[in-house]
């Protein structure tokens, strides 16, 4: 078991009170598994990704634990986490364009970064160059400035750099969102390649784009307003979702081949609740067609089939 997250709660401290962005999530990621995490903006998916590697100043670890390879991660203690970052757990941020220092050539920036972590650049240089080749980049990119690379190329440089020390877990947060479809595909393939070459043991891929997850992820976890809604193998989420939110979400996605004249898709009425003072019970209640008074109580996240878990009174 690579990653085990147990009842994790992370709140944002604001002047108006605590924003309960991550309110008790429990899940596991197995060795070699790519787990996709999807949901609307503000559902807590990025908070979950960040809390596994770095809580920023406004985030507070309220409860629950995170275990990586059997070791408890001190996620609330930024200094103690430093030992794990980059070595055991690594991240590819959304904006690779701003992750690279514009005033340094890629090679020099990489060397400075690696040496700042107490590792000799010469000891990893060959591996680095070999892996750049695997994602379709030539060694000569090391002599270029970031502005000379396209968005997709920068994204791939950051991916290789992040996984250079073979971390157990890689968090990829919205890494394809700013890219064109043709580059998206190359980046998505590189991501799967990193896992297939065992450069990373497992991955958490965060995105709002379910069709990307369908291509890269083994399992998909759907979040709604700080809670987990449904988790299942990717095909099951796409083809046979059971949670009412997942069902409505999937049926609202236009695909190539679906046209307005033939089939009018419907969105989900309403909007997610404020997490400042979220309503008790199921948080999807106000938008859910199946909701009744039972939903005033929060549904547990339970098994409903092989690798399939969800939180809903009406279907479990």
């Amino acid at each position: 078991m690579t990653l085990r997250v147990d009842d994790l709660k992370v709140y944002y401290t604001t002047l108006a009170g605590d924003v309960r962005a991550l309110d008790g999530v429990t899940f596991e990621i197995a060795d070699g598994e790519i787990m996709g995490l999807a949901g609307e903006s503000g559902c807590g998916k990025t908070t979950l990704g960040n809390s596994l590697i770095r809580l920023d100043g406004r985030m507070r670890h309220v409860g629950g634990s995170v275990e990586l390879d059997g070791q408890v991660l001190p996620i609330g203690d930024s200094e103690a986490m430093d030992r794990h970052r980059f070595h055991d757990i690594s991240v590819v941020p959304q904006y690779a364009m701003s992750a690279l220092n514009p005033t340094r050539k890629i090679g020099r920036m990489s060397r400075e970064l690696i040496e700042s972590r107490g590792i000799r650049y010469a000891s990893v240089k060959d591996v680095y160059e070999m892996r750049l080749g695997l994602v379709g980049l030539r060694e000569s990119v090391l002599d270029l400035y970031p502005m000379e690379l396209s968005g997709g190329m920068k994204q791939r440089v950051v991916m290789v750099l992040s996984t250079l020390l073979d971390p157990s877990l890689l968090i990829a947060d919205e890494i394809t969102s700013a890219l064109d479809v043709s580059t998206q595909k190359a980046v998505a393939e590189s991501l799967v390649g990193l896992r297939d070459h065992a450069f990373v043991k497992s991955m958490l891929v965060i995105t709002h784009d379910l069709s990307i997850l369908h291509e890269v992820a083994d399992t998909i976890l759907i979040m709604y307003a700080g809670h987990l809604a449904e988790k299942a193998p990717a095909d099951v989420i796409i083809d046979r979702p059971r949670h009412p939110y997942t069902k409505l979400l999937i049926s609202s996605l236009p695909e190539v081949g679906v046209r307005f004249e033939d089939k009018r898709l419907a969105g989900i009425p309403g909007r997610p609740p404020s997490l400042l003072d979220p309503p008790a019970g199921c948080r999807f209640r106000a938008r859910c067609p199946l909701a009744d008074e039972q939903c005033l109580e929060q549904p547990p996240f339970v098994d409903v089939g092989e690798g399939h878990q969800l939180a809903c009174w009406k279907v479990s």
Binding site: V181, Q184, H208, H214, I250, P254, E255, V258, R259, A266
Partner: protein, 322 residues
């Protein structure tokens, strides 16, 4: 009324420190947008799709070529002469959050329209129009009027901007990436809204990089690449039998939810240059003014350019090269 025609439109930007270099962002683009039709303008970043939208809205100058609205060239209008045109052609842009000033209430955008265009309309009549426009975009007027931007969702804000455009009694709307910032659960509602407005006779230019959205909503599709139209036609034709290698590549790259697309539908066209098969002598890169065609009609209304339009000398079917 409300027919928009682009004829050989070019846009050259001056770039570089002293503006010494040039960037040819839009090359010889010609198309006609009929009223009551949604045209999707699809291209990757840097393809010139937003520049075309901006030129239509006159937010940027046209370097050469004409933009005709109901037969009248609007590309050279200036100052007060532009007003009547702006009443009929409006735009909505990608980021609804930054289209509003956060320190004012969101409905200020309606007041600004009144001040600029309808100063002589009475308060009560204007309120009625605002009410109706909000109803038309499926918003509850009581729920959005008097609120600040941060109290409204992206979908609501975006629909208010469409309502603002509708207040001007427009015939044509340029919708530039209007749903890419919205969540999956609300974006389809905004798309459906465009479909409903179309039924009321509005012409829409739907600028997008997302092929599935363009395919869902539009009647005609135009594929742009590096500022040039490479393929255009009825959406069903372009998506079911893409005929330019670039369009085929784009379609193959789209991640599919339920199974992939069947390339068998277009296998017989793969790698062929349908343009030069039709017109072996023609030059797809010549300026539109010098010849009648830079696109070949391969089925009614379905146009495609040379497969190697960037390097015409490499096209094996072109007899000009030989």
């Amino acid at each position: 009324m409300g027919k928009l025609e682009l004829k050989g439109v070019n846009k050259v930007y001056r770039v570089g420190t002293f503006g010494g270099d040039t960037l040819h962002a839009v090359k010889d683009v010609s198309f006609t947008a009929e009223p009551g039709q949604i045209i999707s303008l699809i291209g990757e970043s840097g393809s010139g799709k937003s520049t075309i939208g901006k030129m239509i809205l006159r937010l940027t100058r046209v370097s050469s070529g004409q933009i005709l609205f109901d037969g009248k060239d609007v590309s050279t209008l200036k100052g007060a002469d532009l007003r009547p045109y702006q009443r009929r052609v409006q735009g909505v842009f990608q980021d609804p959050f930054s289209s509003y000033n956060p320190i004012f209430k969101a409905d200020r955008v309606f007041g600004m329209v009144k001040d600029t265009f309808y100063g002589d309309v009475s308060r009560s009549e204007w309120d009625g129009r605002v009410w109706q426009a909000l109803k038309d975009v499926a918003l509850d007027p009581d729920g959005v009027l008097g609120k600040y931007p941060h109290q409204l969702s992206g979908g609501q804000l975006q629909r208010m901007l469409v309502a603002r455009a509708l207040l001007l009694d427009i015939d044509f709307l340029v919708a530039d990436e209007i749903i890419s910032m919205l969540d999956a659960s609300t974006r389809v509602d905004v798309l459906n809204l465009l479909g409903d407005l179309k039924a009321g006779g509005l012409g829409v230019l739907f600028v997008t990089h997302d092929l599935s959205l363009g395919n869902y909503i539009s009647d005609r599709a135009i594929i742009l690449r590096k500022g040039r139209i490479v393929e255009s036609g009825k959406t069903a034709d372009v998506f079911d039998h893409p005929s330019h290698p670039y369009t085929q590549m784009l379609l193959e790259s789209v991640p599919a939810l339920h199974g992939g697309r069947d390339p068998g539908l277009w296998a017989d066209r793969k790698g062929r240059c349908l343009f030069h098969e039709r017109y072996p002598q023609a030059d797809a890169t010549a300026p539109a003014t010098a010849q009648d065609l830079s696109l070949a009609e391969i089925e009614p209304g379905h146009l495609v350019t040379c497969a190697h339009v960037d390097e015409p000398e490499r096209c094996p079917d072109s007899r000009r090269a030989a």
